[in-house]
């Protein structure tokens, strides 16, 4: 074996040691008790929905289908027309966010349509969160978007169409303590 080859080998080993030093030091004091998850395990936990549509499940629905679900499961708290009841308003009037008493409902304030689907799936209805199917969630989301006059009654919402919905207040935010 020639000397240059040995030198190269030594240098390579040195590089590996330096690169992992910080992490190794931190791990040295930790017991390393996390259990590796399989892809199937992760899929069960991962319900994150991103504004670009990543994470949205299959399924579909229209505002017309959503209206029936809304009346049955949402109207008692949010009002028959999406405002003026005990829970927060979902449907905005014509007021933009600059008005004297701005309405922060979906149409005037929410910047991303995907957020509606995500929040409904997590939290609604409060008495039985997690009980709505993906089809029902897409239909309800479509209903709320149509009630806010952002899409039409017949527009079908699914994993491809929902992230393409342009929300009126999409550019109404300025980040302060972190970049978007």
């Amino acid at each position: 074996m020639s000397t240059p080859k040995l030198t190269k080998l030594f240098m390579c080993l040195a590089c590996v040691v330096i690169a992992t030093d910080a992490e190794a030091q931190s791990r040295a004091q930790a017991p390393q008790l996390g259990t590796p998850m399989s892809k199937a395990d992760v899929a069960k936990w991962d319900i994150t929905v991103f504004p670009d549509g990543r994470g949205l499940p299959s399924g579909h629905g229209t505002a017309k289908e959503g209206r029936a679900i809304y009346v049955q499961k949402c109207a008692s708290c949010h009002g028959d027309q999406g405002q003026g009841a005990t829970a927060e308003d979902l449907v905005s009037g014509p007021m933009p966010p600059t008005a004297g008493h701005p309405n922060k409902a979906i149409g005037s304030y929410w910047p991303y349509a995907t957020t509606i689907f995500d929040y409904l799936r997590r939290a609604m209805p409060p008495s039985a969160p997690g009980s709505l199917s993906s089809d029902e969630l897409y239909a309800l989301t479509a209903y709320l978007l149509a009630a806010n006059k952002i899409i039409s009654e017949s527009d079908e919402m699914d994993a491809l169409s929902l992230p393409k919905v342009e929300m009126p207040n999409r550019n109404g935010f300025v980040p302060i303590d972190a970049k978007k």
Binding site: A30, P51, P126
Partner: protein, 432 residues
Amino acid sequence: MTGKFSDSDLTPIAGGGLLDRRLLLKRGALFAVAAAATAEPARGDAAKPAQAEDFADPAWLHRTGGAFTSYGTPSKYEKYVVRNIGGNREPAGDGVSWTPLEDLEGIVTPSGLHFERHHNGVPDIDPKQHRLVIHGRVRRELMFTIENLLRYPMRSQFLFIECGGNSNAGWHEEPIQRSVGSFHGLVSCSEWTGVPLSILLDEAGVDEGASWVIAEGADANLLNVSLPLSKLMDDAIVGLYQNGERLRPENGYPVRLIVPGWEGITNVKWLRRLHVTDQPSMTRNETAKYTELLPSGIARMFTFVMDAKSLITSPSHGQTLEGPNVYQIRGFAWSGRGKIVKVEVSADAGKSWADALLDEPVMTRCFTRFRMPWHWSGQPAILKSRATDETGYVQPERDVLIKERGRNGYFHYNAIVSWAVDEDGAVTHVYA
């Protein structure tokens, strides 16, 4: 009434009768206290004098005392010191409860009085069935049991947690007349102990290009927020203990995220999932809520840091000064950006200010207790306190904050609070 003090003791160092803070260090200096003016029924009962009329020989000297108890409770005479609940009717678990700040001293909030903000109740979590997972842009996607987390190296830190919506009645056009705890009580301070999150993230092996982490709780709301990875690597704690004991259910049992100095919602209770990723997921809480609409129609978003703030808790709204005397003005200050370096007090509506005494220890992102001696002459006065933190940030006057933010921001109200004392010694909240 002020006979215990010499003339030089009572020489004011600022308008309205503020005295040198060193007077508080003088042995034998006695200060009057402001008393709660309007006794609630529970408070009235508790305050009834005991039957013993001979104070030198009360009944308890002549009978066996109570037995040991396996877990202590406060004195029955202190039953009025409770969280004030402001819950919604539907669902019952959506609302807040306020810490009774005016009834507490020092810097630690008892765990049972820590403020609450729940979105769909307090889950009843069996720690054996609870898991914390880290997944996404990591080399190893990992699942942790609580038993395992308890075996990791831990760190302990005294930290305040403040809800982004605390003090939001300050945005109202008219000053609200409520006790300081029912107005500003969505802030508390505890010793939090747990595993530095960086240890767990290192074990998972964060990929290059990861910049955000989406944290999710195990409540019936599956509350989720997006947080910058850099902050979580820097000083976040996977909290397991509060004030020496395991977390209470309403404070996130069995595990919650602790994000020092950042608004309450980021300290996700009942933590179950950390999704390491390259962008925020724009959750309902970081878009529709916890964003501050400015007069321009543009809203501030990702307003994580709680700016410096201070409150005088005594005297404060609902309390009464019983005649001209020397009083100890007291309160506390905090900043999400680091240590409090100065608290100034004014007794003449901000015309003049004097430095208050800060109790040791003064710790980063923690409550700091301040005290100020004050000779009240019996004339109407307006009291204010103003905090400065180690970054040089100074707590703003209310009109400055309103000019900058308008009145529809709802969150992050940290303006100077003014209490008016009238000639009868009654204290009310004023804008001044």
